[in-house]
Symmetry: C2
Subunit: 491 residues, 2 copies
């Protein structure tokens, strides 16, 4: 795989000096067009053999373009806020917004590759990491991120020569760390691991560009040219509205039965409710105060038809908790900073650290519910969302997060009744808008969307709980009981 | 001070039940008007004696208003990202945006008060904390934040009764921590400390509301009423444009001499430059790699006339560093999330943790430079900025951050020359805009602004370095030498 990267490309100083000004100008043009179109972000990953000149490439790109709109991120040890969350969290928070360029110097490849070369992980874990990466990059691509991944290659001999040179100089010695030496000793292993990872993650949407880095001028020119051409091509292509990949058609099974079969007549009497509510609130409170929860976190996702009682339920759930430990995140229209990022970014930024509890009032399922039904996104977008959501939830649960998802279901009659009541009660007035009445007319489409959602995202790791919510008491108790059970299973 | 809070206010259930629906409706109205005007944020601080019902008040407010636009923050132990930055950092990042309501349950008062009651700080440190708080609240007020601070009071006897009750119940026992008991034992001391802190921080712009919390209904109604009235009053007042406090007139001293007297003819020959640059880059690199820097951080602030060479200088400074350790933050137009916050918020969010280096390409001084000269903010706004900036910088340096501020000065002729050159060089073209030409015409006003800035913000803790920048080599070497000297002084 790296054979062509050892061909010994060389570029003379004269050619270089003649090329650079033209290339810089073209790069700047592209960067400014990107900036003004704000159509997509560019993500550049710089990886490769130690000593191949990764930091030099980063410096060069910063020098040749307008550095104000380039975000360079080195990823050293994670902070504790990062360490308490899934491994991908730190990369999510560093993603460049639309119109900007992000350079990841060190990336999601660093840890899996290093761990493999140093034989700290087995095949299974390695394959799993690769899967997660492929998944993430595909998602980023679908969210319009232009991804370019550079692998800077030098030969074993060249590496040894360079490291020796760095070590000799008192001021560059620090760059040759123990890890670098360890890697250099295992050059062949490293190449084998890199080959595998590059092969398996060189996809159509995020290809690797492996290049000969033994000549500085060739290296700089190549990276800059590839970057320029990729940006230019994407900028010049006509708007993608019509180009969206055709979505696989969702098999029409009779899955709405699931919802229609719910026994919405279930109810609890007030006295019984009070007793049970208190009991489960106490149990819940004890569980999250337990020692074992200190390295865990809890994410509660609430969805439901309008007026199904999400707010009241959330208040009873929160009522069991110290107000300092939980955060309610209402999902409304995204902010400007959120709109400049991939869809899931605005959920990632709220994910809890150890002992944290986050309650989402509406969630990342918005894409397959309201956005699908109202046509706010393309069919391809919501079709791929199921898979992306499953991946998100898998990462959370792998990280020790307990995740409970609730769909609160009420009957059409009950909804009508509640709407009318809301209109008549002053302080509930804010809960009812003309939109709610409009949504009611689309009940059929919503029902299908909910059924598909449950079908495709109720996984073993993160099952949906359907809550019969015609009786508020019944619903609240069922939600609290479900949370307690889920916590007890893992604590 | 708390005498009137022990008068034993009581409200009957009948009165309460009659009042609450009206109050909720009025509160919601106010909240929605706030939301649609997006004119200011509301910050509610809930403090008081343990057992007085702080969390109950928080719950009630969340229940009576639309919780989606209320951000409740409990402040427990700081995370490491927070602990590495000045104490106020965690509160800055939790500030509510315009149109929203933030509830701080625990706040900047918690630590100073606790430390004082437990006799962990001396008078001096305590006074200092109070000064920092007064300063912060005045600034928030000037940035249109509506601040309401509630102190919930109960008597010694009542507290003991309540804590006993909490301790008896297995499910509330956890709420009575060691700290609570310690505080309860020192009830009188706590009252004395609270009195002092409330007295000294009960300002016109951020008054304390101390209230009798022994009756739950009275407590809830009072907090909600005060909140409602304050929001309503602010919402109904005419736009403040004409109401801005008259700014004190800046004494017109002949301070521009400072700039005019700079010897801009200073220069370094190329060979000498290369040697010195290398020497200082090496020294710089060694300093930030030293053990002592591991608990420190470095903030470099660059300002200068257009074309003074900020970008080139920053590149040489960064050139000495591992790209993973520093971040260049270019200051351009604020984003939507930034515009919804006080002016300094967007700088706070970039402040470095331990070992971090942040290079600001233009800075918080924008307010007293471009915003002053171009009239983007009122005179009162930029006049108060000097003081706010000094406070920011004091907090940084107290936290162990090394701060260097550079003003790069070039002559009018040299600027003209560089502008013309930029227009002729393709890849420098992006650096010159019609705005630059317009700014040139305001050279006099800018000169005065710079002179005032240096006069008022060149403090012992954070002095300005004026850099004679007609010769780029000279400027770069002077900047690097200044950074090295500053680091050496503290390491």
């Amino acid at each position: 795989m790296f054979e062509s990267s050892e061909l010994g490309h060389e570029i003379s100083k004269a050619v270089y000096d003649a090329e650079v000004p033209k290339l810089r100008e073209a790069l700047l043009d592209a960067q400014y067009d990107l900036r003004s179109a704000k159509a997509f972000p560019v993500l550049i990953i710089i990886a490769g053999i130690e000593g191949a000149g990764k930091s030099e490439v980063v410096q060069t790109l910063n020098e040749w373009m307008d550095p104000r709109f380039i975000h360079t991120h080195g990823f050293l040890l994670p902070t504790d806020e990062e360490a308490q969350r899934p491994p991908m969290y730190r990369f999510w928070r560093a993603l460049p917004p639309k119109g900007d360029i992000g350079i990841f110097f060190g990336s999601w490849y660093t840890v899996p590759m290093l761990a493999r070369v140093l034989e700290q992980t087995d095949d299974h874990a390695f394959e799993h990491s690769i899967g997660v990466i492929r998944h993430l990059e595909r998602m980023l691509h679908n969210e319009d991120v232009l991804i370019l991944k550079f692998w800077l290659h030098i030969s074993d001999k060249e590496q040894r020569k360079r490291l020796r040179r760095l070590e000799k100089d008192r001021d560059t010695r620090w760059r040759v760390t123990k890890v670098h030496k360890l890697l250099a000793e295992r050059y062949e292993t490293q190449i084998a691991v890199a080959e595998k990872i590059l092969r398996e993650t060189s996809t159509g949407e995020a290809p690797w560009i492996a290049l000969d880095a033994s000549d500085d001028r060739y290296r700089n020119l190549t990276v800059a040219r590839v970057l320029h051409d990729a940006m230019r091509r994407r900028l010049d292509q006509p708007a993608t509205a019509g180009l969206v990949t055709a979505a696989p058609v969702l098999p029409q099974v009779d899955n709405v039965k699931l919802l229609r079969d719910l026994d919405l007549s279930q109810r609890i009497e007030k006295d019984d409710y009070k007793k049970q509510l208190e009991r489960y609130q106490q149990r819940f409170g004890r569980l999250v105060r337990s020692k074992k929860f200190r390295k865990r976190s809890l994410v509660l996702a609430f969805e439901g038809s309008d007026a199904a009682g999400k707010g009241g339920t959330i208040r009873r759930v929160a009522g069991a908790l110290d107000a300092r430990l939980y955060k309610v995140v209402p999902i409304a229209a995204p902010t400007e900073e959120e709109r400049a990022q991939p869809y899931l970014w605005r959920f990632w930024r709220h994910m809890p650290g150890h002992r944290g509890i986050v309650i989402f009032d509406r969630t990342w399922y918005g894409r397959v519910l309201v956005e699908r039904v109202e046509g706010f996104c393309s069919e391809a977008d919501w079709m791929r969302a199921y898979d992306e959501i499953n991946e998100l939830e898998e990462q959370l649960t792998e990280n020790g997060t307990v995740l409970c998802k609730f769909w609160l279901q009420i009957s059409g009659d009950e909804q009508l009744h509640r709407f009318q009541e809301r209109e008549q009660t002053g302080f509930k007035r804010f809960k009812i808008t003309p939109e709610d009445w409009r949504n009611r007319e689309k009940a059929g489409a919503y029902e299908q969307a909910v059924a598909d959602m449950v079908d495709r995202t109720s996984t073993q790791l993160a099952p949906w709980t359907l809550v019969e919510a015609n009786d508020k008491y019944f619903a609240r108790v069922k939600v609290l009981r479900t949370i307690c059970d889920a916590l007890e299973r893992v604590l």
